[in-house]
């Protein structure tokens, strides 16, 4: 298992953002669904080693991230796309991706081909020398995905990766996810259930810091049978689970 989480909590002041999460995920694409404020981003940031949990047990790629050495090893094998991508406007696409390849301590000789491959995979090969300040929001999102996958990560954490992408790009992105998921564990946090249905083998639904559903997209769809809210079967399942979990 690349992700093993037991009893994980994270508190921000009086707010319990993650309230006792148990989760295990192996290679494949794992969808993390939930309404705004459910704790998805906090859980993803903990898994990205950006913040530490308040309590609970976490093992990533078979290592405990509390130790300096194991954490560094995890980070070498990690890709992360935050919800709000920060970027340096003066950098070109290739330079920005190269910058993160260097920070991920990739061997210097492997960086140029890896950068070119990552930029190509997100469809920005022809814009690799464009400065980031000249790109649209969708293109910037793809640059963010490129920096996340440049090191060919074993654990890829994507927070709202399809926000700002047009339908064609979203379809291409789902295909990319399926491809990457053959060998890596990919956790995709999203509130767009169609992304989950199209690309994820496993899905978890979070609400108020807890996982209230864990199964396949098919299982989630089944939960929505006979439930009236939602346009699509998966959306009806999502609504049904949320409604059932709330008092």
């Amino acid at each position: 298992m690349n992700v093993e989480i037991t009893g994980l909590t994270r508190r921000f002041g009086r707010t319990m953002a993650v309230a006792g999460v148990d989760l295990r995920a192996g290679p494949g694409v794992f969808g993390l669904l939930g309404p705004n404020g459910a704790g998805k981003t906090s859980l993803l940031r903990i898994m990205a080693t950006a913040i530490q949990p308040t309590s609970g047990r976490l093992r990533l790629l078979g290592r405990d991230p509390r130790g300096d050495g194991p954490r560094r090893e995890i980070r070498r094998r990690l890709g992360y796309l935050p919800q709000n991508l920060g970027y340096y406007p003066g950098f070109t696409v290739a330079e920005f991706v190269e910058y993160f390849a260097l920070l991920k301590e990739m061997p210097a000789a492997r960086i140029p081909p890896a950068v070119a491959a990552a930029v190509d995979r997100v469809g920005l090969g022809d814009r690799s020398r464009a400065r980031l300040r000249t790109l649209s929001g969708g293109m910037l999102r793809r640059v963010g995905i490129a920096q996340a996958i440049v090191n060919d990560p074993e654990l890829l954490l994507l927070d709202e990766p399809t926000a700002g992408l047009d339908p064609e790009q979203r379809m291409a992105f789902r295909a990319l996810l399926r491809d990457l998921g053959q060998s890596a564990t990919i956790v995709v946090s999203t509130h767009l259930v169609e992304d989950v249905g199209a690309a994820c083998a496993q899905v978890a639904l979070m609400d108020r810091g807890k996982i209230i559903f864990h199964g396949t997209p098919g299982d989630l769809t089944a939960r929505g049978a006979g439930h009236g809210t939602g346009d699509a079967p998966l959306e009806r399942g999502y609504s049904a689970v949320l409604t059932a979990a709330r008092p």
């Binding site: 940031r45 990205a48 080693t49 950006a50 913040i51 530490q52 300096d68 954490r71 560094r72 090893e73 980070r75 070498r76 094998r77 990690l78 992360y80 935050p82 709000n84 991508l85 920060g86 970027y87 340096y88 003066g90 950098f91 330079e95 190269e98 910058y99 993160f100 260097l102 920070l103 991920k104 301590e105 990739m106 061997p107 210097a108 492997r110 960086i111 890896a114 491959a117 190509d120 995979r121 997100v122 469809g123 793809r142 995905i145 920096q147 090191n151 060919d152 074993e154 790009q169 291409a172 992105f173 295909a175 990319l176 399926r178 491809d179 990457l180 053959q182 060998s183 890596a184």
Partner: protein, 520 residues
Amino acid sequence: MTATSAPARSAPVTSPPGRSAARLLRLELRHNAMLWMMPVAVALFWVTAGRKTMATPPLWGVRAANMQPTAVLANASPVAGAAAWMGSRESRRRTTDLVNITARPWPARLLATWAATTCWALVAYLACVGVVYGVTAQQATWGGPLWWPAVVAGASLPALTALGFAVGTLVPSRFTAPLVTIAAFFVLALSTQLINGSQSYWQISPVVAAPWDIGPDPGAGTFYAFQPDLPIAQVMFLTGLTAAVLGVLALPTGAGARSPRRSGVAVATAGLLVAGTAVALAGTGRLDAQGMIAIPALHDAASDRPLRYTPVCSHTAIPVCLNPAYASYLPATETALAPTLDQLAGLPGAPARISQAAVTYQQGRDNSVGFGLAGLPISGTPPVFHLLLPVELPGPAVTTSELAAQLRSITGPSIVASVTGDNPGASQAQHAVTTALLMAARVVPSHLPAGGTPTIGNSVAGPPPGAGAGSEQYVGAAPGSPAYAAATRFAARPAAVRRAWLTRHLAALRAGRISLGQLP
């Protein structure tokens, strides 16, 4: 986006740190705010430091010592401001999460950004120093570049970038860089306000290039070797400060590793120790006789010996010999003194040579500094008159015509007085003969305070070393007095008559045995 070109997975292999660090530095160099601030830094340097430095006499000691403080002040604002801007970049651009979860330790990442900022600051500074030193090399007639002042100003740049960068990193905001830009200038400019005498701890400030009370000493690098005691302490301080600040950058808690924090504590502690030692050393400094700060623990006594040089001499009736570094002043000196020297040449007791001497200094109480000749103005056999050029003395730079005027009206009378024995205790006849010789040479003397030594434009006070009893000082005859009438009468006599009388009676005149009535 394509799903078909996934590269084969292989276990991550760490990169050789040097090569990756070089690539990271290259990226940071290409996207550094200091790159855009370079023209500002160069322009500020030229407006505030370059022009002022180039206006000083073309003496290595003076030029270098003038350049150091002005260069530090000129660079402080743009360099510290750019560093603060770069330090706050991750927070301003909201990349903190993204970069913090990468494998490279955050101190190494920040170090690359800081190093790039420092590199560009140094490039701009070295270009400016290159111009100043290059032009000085063209203009100077003797000696070589003094590197220590340039090194101190250069060492201040990493310290400034480290401070600016640390503030930008630890207190990130869009207002941080402008505030740091303003603060850097004022902190440096005000750092000298607390200097009191040559034993002040505050002279560790990089804007102090020479004893604060007297300014740059032209004797450094001309008559005496430059003493690097204070610059060594300053470089120690700046290096320690840089290390301490960079060490502090590795301390912030977060999702980082413990080992960089431990290294940060070690580096910061070592830096503070070095900087503290340097401050303590600066506090033990004392003004030495050559006008430089000597720090006993760092002082090399062997460097106190005067430099050997072959003087450049004029072809006047009495040769005027200057240090070769002052060769460009010889024509003006020669022209200014020639009429006076013509009156004295060949007389018994007249100097065989006018020889330039170095100023010597003595720290008095509080901020007072005495300066002057180390010995008597005239001494030796054959007698040699020791000359202090006005450009050697503390004060603002003088033009060649100002120099000539001061030599004619101050040094000329002093030379005559040294021959006639005129001083405040001399006889009326001595006053009259001195005045008569100056009238004949068409010199309008500038009266000096009794017991003083020629000084220009400086508020320092105190007894000049060696200018005590027995030193001849021009007093002359006051207009309207009997002595003045006798001087007018004596000056009106033909030159041959004056010379013949002086040849016979000069010894008696010096001994005070000639009365006014005995003058022809």
